[in-house]
Amino acid sequence: MLSTPTHAASVADVIAAANRIILGKDGQVRLALACLLARGHLLIEDLPGVGKTTLAQTLARLLGLQFSRIQFTSDMLPADVIGVSIYDRERNAFRFLPGAIFSQVLLADEINRATPKTQSALLEAMEERQVTVEGETRPLPEPFFVIATQNPSTQIGTFPLPESQLDRFLLRVELGYPDRAAERELLESGGRRDVLPALTARLAPEQIVPLQQAVDQIHVSPALFDYVQALVETTRTRPRFIHGLSPRAALALLAVARAWAFLASRKMVMPEDVQAVLPSVACHRLQLADGNGHARPEDIASLIRSVPVM
């Protein structure tokens, strides 16, 4: 197991390299990395063309992970994702052809274009980290990291993910348009996709699991547990939200906060870490009581402002 400073150095290197590809999105890059380190899956919700795929590919390359991509459509079947057993005439036996899901980084593009049946096949695999086909259970590779992208559900031809499925994503981030300077740089240097093949891995795949273990070691003090509980309780009593955050969401919040502290080379979680990751953890898990869909970052900001840190 590597010592923390080395961890930090390697992770900082990954972030720096990613930021050279994905311009002006440091926060989202860090969140994506934190999500990976916290053993979670990432949901990116945004319009086409803002760099969702680039982010996924960049991360896969920089971490030296095997990458595959599924473009979801409404006629896609679970077998397309998971894999299928076909009859091998020569060997006179069934042979399993693994689907795209058998990779370390899976980009599930436009997941809400698929039918609920296909969606749930993917999401179950994400949760269990294994696939059962025809009675045989096959583990998925380690690490296993799904980056799903979703179009805003206002677009036509989409099947919005139900609450329970959304909960399987540790984080949801929005990329948003780049700021003026970043966009200018992008325009001047041309598309990012060409640069991708030239990227070298900054970490070996086998280094990821020790990093994840190091994240687990980040200290959480009783005072911080108090703070997290206060935040979660506030979501439950606020009339603005239909339901509050679940205990699973609270666990997710802590896990991401640990990873965030780790990325900041700290040995303990600070309230600032919790506050930084809270919008990404909570927004897709909180529904607004006024029927306007999920909580907005402004709602989370006002939530944070209503809970004193001590």
């Binding site: 200290h219 005072a223 009339p239 040995k267 303990m268 600032e272 001590m310």
Partner: protein, 648 residues
């Protein structure tokens, strides 16, 4: 919901049609709400409301004044929900609700009303909270509302105890205060007591210091009526304090002296009721020549009086001549048959006591009966009663007896008051109701003074021994509660009344006088309103302080590092940087670095120490070091502070 709760208690005081209309309106609204129905349009509501208002004006002959005002408000309250669409409408309903709640006190001051109002206020506050707080869970809103009300209670108590009192009922309005007070009047004409006996209102309550005397001793002496015009018995002027009067001389024949406290309901008259015959009077009260206790002022609110009475007495062996003359006067030419009978007795018997006994025997042996519904009597009322109808109750018997005595030349007069009462075995409180009203007689015997004679006792002994309900035939109607049967229900009622008596004594009976007592207990002798107001402010201030302290200590049991950090943050405010409650140490340090780079290193150091202490993993000795370092930072900062403020 709010509308229902606030209008409900008014129903009994409203005309029936209005209650019905309001009930229907509220019911319709609830139905629409359940069905998600559309609210009626204004052109439907407006004529309805106008018609209702006109109806109220017609019913009360006015739109102004207390009762029509309340009726109008109740009516509006019932119809306002029909057009409740905006938050402002809800606000109107809630405010109207609070106001209507207050108006309940015009009708009742009982303990149940108190609790009802408290509960309704909680509901109203909860509705208000929910209206402004959005769709919060209902139990939480109620908890919060109850907490608010609970916090208000100490202040209510302080105001109750210390707010300068004015005389009058708690919520009385000037013009309405003293009308409608019922009770005995200082005259007795046929049927006047009859109405009273049908009333279940409480006349007064008695708390005995020792054991209660026997029921047949419980004659509560009220006005003495010594003038008769053939129809009505009245109090004559001779019974007023007069220079020719002899002082009242009471010789006690027995040992017993009975001490008791009477809690007298307001009756707006000056005479008090006392157990026959009082020897020690409350302060300020006097005994008239006819042994009626009079206070200086009419009794306009429930008042406590302490008496001491003797059951066995000889009073005024020597009586002033004008009083005796008044006590034999009869209207001329009326009731010839009665006179004849009395004169025949006078001829046969010389001893006045024998004559009295003859009269009582006459009542007992002839076919007299006791009823509350006697036939009407004509001009010679006593004649008709004694020889024709022979049906009547105490006023008839007392009147007829006194007439007989006077006709026989024996000084006699009618005494009215109450007889008996209902003892609550739970707290030993005797409750005397208007239905216990009674009339009896007194005769003066040479050398023996005034003697009480109750002719009713010879016709209906059970009236005296057991109370009015035992004396009446079943066919006579009485208030429902008077005929209450025993069992657990009765015990329950006794318990409830015991609670109510305590409430009456301590809450409603809290008048200026008792307030002075309380204040002198608090060490304030002879306070004027200024010192009372300042005491009130002081007590409220202390209560507020205690509540604030309580919430403060409950919230903040801070670890040492938090206290030091807070101190540092307080110092930081002088630099124009105020830590937001949600702001963590690192964010704060970052902000300081942006806004005041000059002090940033120090704050950074303090923040990292604080972060280690609060969120770090360090072992104990490690944390002690950090604590010291953090303290040093604060000290350093303080000196820096001074330096800076000198510079500015």
């Amino acid at each position: 919901m709010v509308a229902v709760v606030t209008t409900l208690p008014h129903i009994e005081n409203l005309p029936g049609w209005l209650s019905l209309v309001c009930g229907m309106a509220l019911f319709a609204r609830a139905w629409l709400w359940l069905r998600n129905g559309r609210l009626p349009r204004w052109w439907l509501l407006a004529p309805l409301v106008l018609a209702g208002a006109a109806g109220i004006a017609w019913q009360y002959h006015s739109m102004f004044g207390r009762d029509p005002g309340i009726a109008l408000l109740v009516f509006f309250m019932a119809f306002k929900p029909m057009e409740m669409t905006t938050r402002r409408d809800g606000m109107v309903i809630i405010m109207l609700g609070f106001f209507l709640l207050l108006t309940h006190y015009f009708d009742t001051e009982g303990i149940a009303a108190g609790f009802w109002i408290l509960a309704s206020a909680t509901l109203l506050t909860a509705a208000l909270l929910r209206m402004y707080g959005g769709a919060q869970p209902i139990p939480g809103v109620f908890r919060y509302s109850a907490l608010l009300i609970a916090q208000a209670l100490p202040f209510a108590l302080i105001l109750f105890l210390l707010f300068p009192r004015v005389e009058g009922p708690l919520w009385g309005m000037p013009q309405d205060t003293y009308t409608g007070l019922s009770g005995l009047t200082e005259q007795m004409s046929p049927g006047s007591l009859n109405n009273l006996i049908l009333s279940h209102d409480i006349a007064f309550g008695v708390q005995f210091e020792t054991d209660m005397p026997g029921r047949s001793q419980l004659y509560w002496r009220g006005p003495v009526l010594d003038s008769y015009d053939g129809r009505t018995w009245r109090t004559s002027l001779t019974s007023n304090p007069h220079s020719g009067n002899k002082p009242v001389t009471i010789e006690t024949t027995g040992e017993a002296r009975i001490g008791y406290t009477i809690i007298l309901e307001a009756h707006n008259r000056r005479w008090l009721l006392a157990l026959d015959l009082p020897v020690e009077l409350p302060e300020g009260a006097t005994l008239t020549p006819t042994f009626v206790t009079r206070s200086r002022m009419p009794i306009r609110f429930r008042t406590r009086f302490t008496f001491r009475s003797v059951p066995d007495y000889v009073v005024n062996r020597e009586e002033a001549p004008h009083i005796l003359q008044q006590a034999v006067r009869l209207p001329l030419r009326l009731n010839p048959r009665t006179r004849e009978l009395a004169e025949s007795w006078q001829r046969e018997l010389t001893d006045p006591e024998q004559i009295s006994a003859a009269a009582l025997r006459f009542f007992r042996e002839e076919k007299f009966s006791y009823t509350l519904n006697p036939p009407q009597l004509g001009a010679n009322a006593v004649d008709e009663f004694l020889f024709d109808t022979r049906q009547g109750f105490c006023e008839h018997y007392a009147g007829a007896y006194v007439t007989l005595m006077r006709a026989a030349g024996i000084p006699a007069r009618v005494v009215i008051g109450y007889q008996g009462g209902e003892l609550n075995p739970v707290d030993g409180y005797l409750k005397v109701r208007q239905s216990d009203a009674h009339a009896w007689s007194e005769i003066w015997l040479e050398g023996k003074g005034w003697k009480r004679v109750d002719p009713t006792a010879s016709i209906a002994p059970s009236r005296i021994e057991q109370g009015i309900e035992a004396a009446l035939p079943e066919s006579d109607s009485l208030p429902a509660l008077t005929r209450f049967d025993g069992g657990w229900l009765l015990r329950l009622r006794y318990r409830w009344e015991a609670v109510n008596n305590t409430w009456d004594l301590w809450v409603l009976g809290y008048n200026p006088e008792r307030q002075l007592e309380t204040l002198s207990l608090l060490g304030m002798e002879d306070p004027d309103w200024r010192s009372m107001v300042s005491a009130m402010m002081l007590a409220s201030g202390i209560a507020l302080f205690l509540i604030v302290c309580w919430t403060f200590f409950r919230r903040t049991k801070f670890a040492p590092e938090v206290r030091i950090w807070r101190r540092l943050c307080a110092r930081l405010e002088r630099f124009g940087i105020r830590r937001a409650p949600w702001e963590g140490p690192l964010d704060l340090a970052a902000r300081v670095a942006r806004e005041r780079p000059d002090i940033a290193p120090l704050i950074n150091r303090a923040a990292s120490h604080f972060a280690e202490l609060r969120y770090g993993t360090g072992p104990l000795e490690h944390s002690r070091e950090h604590l010291h370092a953090l303290r040093d930072c604060v000290k350093e900062f303080a000196s820096l502070n001074l330096h800076h403020s000198l510079r500015h």
